[in-house]
């Protein structure tokens, strides 16, 4: 799932549940259409509940944008695995991917809305994180 507007910040949704990740991505699509590159991942490598680094790396690749990628995560393991995935990216991409401290569903919708207006990665992250401010 990637868009034709690579100028906007990409959004990656990471949940322990693939259904939640996919459902949140559906909500984002309904809000912003194809205006932002978007990808989701959820579940462990065997398809059970959990998150996995390889899946997150793949989602980052799918939602890649020169403007950067904001990752929305649900629980601790999703955050730790996402940070690990970011560190494993090629050096020139690493600084352009940020994990947001925000609720996964609301954060993804707000981040995508912000991104669709052409905002910077920092601004996208900030608006998602306003939920916890």
């Amino acid at each position: 799932m990637s868009s034709l507007r690579p100028g906007n910040v990409g959004i990656v949704i990471v949940s322990h549940s693939p259904k939640i990740a996919e459902g949140a991505a559906d909500m984002v699509r309904q809000m912003v259409g194809d205006a932002v590159p978007l990808a989701w991942t959820g579940g462990d490598v065997d398809g059970g509940l959990g998150t996995n680094v390889a899946g997150i790396l793949e989602a980052i690749e799918t939602a890649w944008s020169p403007a950067g990628v904001a990752i929305l995560v649900d629980l601790g393991g999703a955050e730790t695995n996402s940070e690990m995935a970011v560190e494993m990216l090629p050096e020139d991409r690493r600084a352009r991917v940020l994990v947001c401290n925000a609720p996964v569903v609301e954060g993804a919708v707000i981040a995508a809305t912000e991104s669709s207006g052409g905002s910077s990665l920092a601004a996208v992250k900030r608006s998602a994180e306003e939920f916890y401010a």
Partner: protein, 204 residues
């Protein structure tokens, strides 16, 4: 300390075996205060490590440790994959091919710092750090294999009365008290397996 290929393979088998044999126990510990998947996750990770033998043992000790860490990161899932995986990867980065005891002390300390940074955690929060940190103190203080293994087991026991501050168990607040931390238990199993193998190498 010099580990030849046979010894490296023995080490990998011991590490993996210790976790795989105790997977059910780890899972029941995790069912008490976590989401009940620690045993299954760790087992999956170490089965992948075993599947990478004999190629893993063909590598030098540092490269082998890095490869084990990477496999655990990719296969374990949950927060324990990056935490345990980071420990192995950093150990591999910091150790020379034929480490002295002093090298082991320094490398372990670096690996523990990396785990702290990865989990944004410190000892005292009912995590694997509550085993790694005291075990490192015994290692640095000159303790032998038996003392290290004993400290690992006791340190895991000492997590039972703690209240979890980090990880899934922290959601339970005071209800996390009275259960051993599963991550501490798996760390103690790994340390027990490692020192037993290394002692065998030193004494034979």
């Amino acid at each position: 300390m010099s580990l030849d290929r046979v010894a490296r393979e023995r080490l990998v088998r011991a590490l993996a075996g210790s976790v795989i044999e105790h997977a059910d126990e780890l899972t029941s510990l995790d069912q008490a205060i976590g989401d009940g998947d620690h045993g299954l996750n760790m087992k999956r990770g170490f089965e992948a490590v075993l599947a990478a033998l004999p190629g893993l043992a063909d590598k030098s000790l540092p490269e082998m440790l890095k490869a084990i860490g990477m496999t655990l990161v990719m296969k374990v899932g949950g927060a324990s994959g990056p935490l345990v995986g980071t420990f192995f990867m950093e150990l591999g980065k910091a150790l020379p091919e034929q480490p002295s005891r002093a090298d082991l002390v320094t490398a372990t300390e670096k690996a523990i710092e990396a785990v702290k940074a990865r989990g944004r955690s410190e000892a005292g929060q009912k995590t694997l750090l509550d085993v790694l940190v005291p075990v490192h103190a015994v290692l640095a203080g000159g303790g032998d294999a038996k003392a290290i293994a004993a400290e690992a087991a006791q340190a895991a026991d000492r997590t039972t009365p703690m209240q979890a501050i980090r990880g899934r168990a922290s959601f339970l607040g005071e209800r996390s008290i009275g259960h051993m931390d599963p991550g501490s238990r798996s760390a103690s199993l790994l340390i027990g397996a490692a020192v037993e193998t290394l002692e065998f190498e030193v004494n034979t």
